[in-house]
């Protein structure tokens, strides 16, 4: 188990998540950063996603296997 995951589990089991009113200063900054990272990933997906998606999924027909 990764360290990150252990931490998230600890947090998870310590009780309810912190109510929004108690979000410390700087949280908005972090939320913004998370959003930017998410957008960044979507842009990265766009870069590698097959450009011919419509014809690709139509043509992708396999012989049956096990």
């Amino acid at each position: 188990m990764s360290q990150k995951e252990k931490e998230s589990r600890k947090r998870d089991e310590s009780g309810d998540p912190t109510p929004e009113s108690e979000v410390p200063a700087g949280a908005q900054e972090r939320a913004k950063k998370v959003q930017e990272e998410a957008d960044d990933i979507l842009d990265k997906i766009d870069e590698v996603l097959e450009k011919n998606a419509a014809s690709f999924v139509k043509s992708f027909i396999q012989k049956g296997g096990q």
Binding site: D12, V57, I61, G64, Q66
Partner: protein
């Protein structure tokens, strides 16, 4: 020809199944989907699959053949033999189809798909590690194929299980079990687990292969393709419990349960949960049989309908009917399995690996119960949830409708094995999914076999004596020791042939002949191998 007797590699005594859980033996198989960059492949699928296997760099396998002598997939665990042609390819065809790998596994073509059978593993970590090593091997084939293709075509290889048009290919798990566990007990005890476990180990799928309306996303790639509760065939009319009785080991001691309902997970955590939970359920079934203790595993009234329903129900709330007439939710079933298994181990004692696995299993079920409100990290661990989140994020941000073909493309490409274009690989590289392994552990598994099963002997021998090992199979290795006849070294016990027992011998031997002499000295003289003349 002499029958093999006790030696370092095969024993007539049943042993090994009393070892801790992760001393149990598991092997998994992954079939890959392939296409050209346009998505099409048509009738050349089989040919290209062969070419891919044949592009495997020499670093990973020698010229040894696959030995089909001991294969018989037509024996049914219910006690009969089905008619069918056993595969016996000639030398050229054999080589064109197979690579016996230095890591102890096998890369080959099955039907028209490239397939990787991982070596026998005795720990969950190894199961995950060697499966991922298979993707890396196929990726190496793919890069070599593209580099040598005169047409400069590009290829796609997917670690998935359906094409969206009603064709499926497999992911198979193999569990070594005691022959003492009657097959009926497996059917009764395991079926509902195989149906319910897709809530944590489904790989996720956009739409339906059967053209079902109102199913935008499913938990499982494979569930729709199951038509029977129990069956022998793996390619049509598939049964949730597969009855193939081909133990690849001593039949009187072992059976190899062939589980064909699973999806090819990309997430290491989902793979570990899939195999780990199933191992524990089987272990408890086996032990309860031995000790005569009764279990309270749920039994579904209509497992096939339930499998389809569970896959399409992302709320986990739809009721399922048990043979008792009572109804239960899929999470109710999953919790009953967990509770039975936990009760068993708290009574009988458990090691830290079992404790960790039970803890993980229980946290996942608890979080699934509240998934709609808060995914609580499951969308970083479970394939269907990782994929669903990715697709929803993309769809919302790009303003796409439910039927947009880019959603299906995202689904397919999630399984693309290549680091440069696979979306799971992309999310993983960006820290968007949780991992179990260090990438270096995977690299090691490309060339080195597991140390604690017979795969160690097979893989080490292939690598150490590439010119003398003529052929390999799961349960034997055939060597040319320079004498007039080839020698088959039996590997009938999957627990023997480990690094601990034969590592020094393999290291010391300068030739296969010396190795054979060493084995004879260690075991019963003159009878460790069969003379194949």
């Amino acid at each position: 020809m002499t029958e093999p007797q006790d030696n370092a590699l095969s024993s007539e005594k049943s042993q090994g199944l009393g070892m801790p859980c992760f001393g149990r033996i598991v092997g998994t198989e992954v079939e890959y989907g392939i296409s050209f960059g346009s998505g099409t492949i048509g009738d050349s699928q089989g040919e290209i699959s062969h070419e891919l296997v044949n592009r495997l760099p020499g670093l990973y396998a020698s010229g040894a053949l696959w030995d089909y002598e001991e294969e018989d997939p037509f024996l049914d665990a219910r006690g009969f033999h089905v008619e069918g042609d056993r595969e016996r390819p000639d030398r050229r065809e054999n080589r064109w189809t197979n690579r016996a790998l230095y890591n102890g596994g096998r890369l080959y073509v099955d039907g028209a798909h490239p397939e990787y059978s991982a070596p026998e593993c005795a720990s969950l970590r190894d199961v995950v590690r060697f499966e991922r090593a298979g993707d890396r091997l196929v990726e190496a084939c793919l890069l070599a194929w593209e580099a040598e293709d005169p047409g400069r075509r590009s290829l796609r290889v997917f670690r998935n299980n359906s094409d969206g048009w009603g064709n499926s290919w497999g992911y198979h798990e193999n569990y070594l079990l005691s022959r003492d566990l009657p097959f009926d007990r497996i059917i009764g005890g395991l079926t509902a687990h195989l149906v319910s476990r897709i809530v944590f180990c489904g790989a996720g799928k956009v739409g339906s292969d059967k053209g079902l309306e109102g199913v935008p996303f499913q938990l499982s790639q494979r569930a729709e393709f199951f038509e029977l509760p129990v069956g022998l065939s793996t390619t049509s009319r598939r049964g949730i419990i597969n009855t193939r009785d081909e133990p690849h080991s001593r039949k009187e001691s072992y059976r190899r349960l062939h589980v064909i309902t699973g999806d090819s997970n990309c997430s290491e955590i989902a793979t570990a949960l899939k195999i780990g939970s199933t191992l524990l359920v089987l272990w408890v079934l086996e032990e309860s049989q031995r000790t005569g203790v009764s279990l309270d595993f749920p039994v579904l009234a209509d497992p096939v309908a339930a499998f389809h329903q569970v896959s399409a129900d992302l709320t986990f709330r739809k009721p399922l009917t048990l043979t008792t007439g009572r109804t239960i939710t899929v999470l109710g079933i999953a919790e009953r399995y967990l509770e039975n298994v936990r009760l068993w181990f708290s009574r009988e004692g458990m090691d830290s690996e079992v404790r960790d696995l039970l803890e993980r299993w229980s946290v996942v079920l608890r979080r699934l119960a509240h998934y709609q409100k808060d995914p609580a990290g499951l969308d970083r661990e479970l394939d269907w949830a990782i994929k669903h989140r990715m697709i929803e994020r993309y769809r919302t941000s790009r303003g796409l409708s439910e039927g947009d073909s880019r959603l299906r493309m995202l689904d397919l490409q999630y399984h693309d094995i290549r680091s440069s274009s696979g979306l799971f690989r992309l999310l993983e590289a960006r820290g968007e999914v949780e991992r179990l392994l260090d990438p270096m552990e995977i690299e090691d598994a490309l060339v080195h076999p597991p140390s604690d099963t017979r795969a160690f002997f097979r893989g080490s021998l292939l690598r150490r004596f590439p010119d003398e090992v003529v052929a390999a199979a799961w349960s034997s290795v055939v060597v040319d020791d320079g004498s007039p006849s080839l020698k088959r070294i039996p590997l009938s016990d999957p627990f023997r042939g480990t690094q601990k027992s034969v590592g020094a011998l393999v290291d010391r031997a300068q030739s296969a002949k010396q190795l054979l002499e060493g084995l004879l000295a260690k075991g019963a003289p003159n009878e460790s191998s069969e003379d194949m003349s």
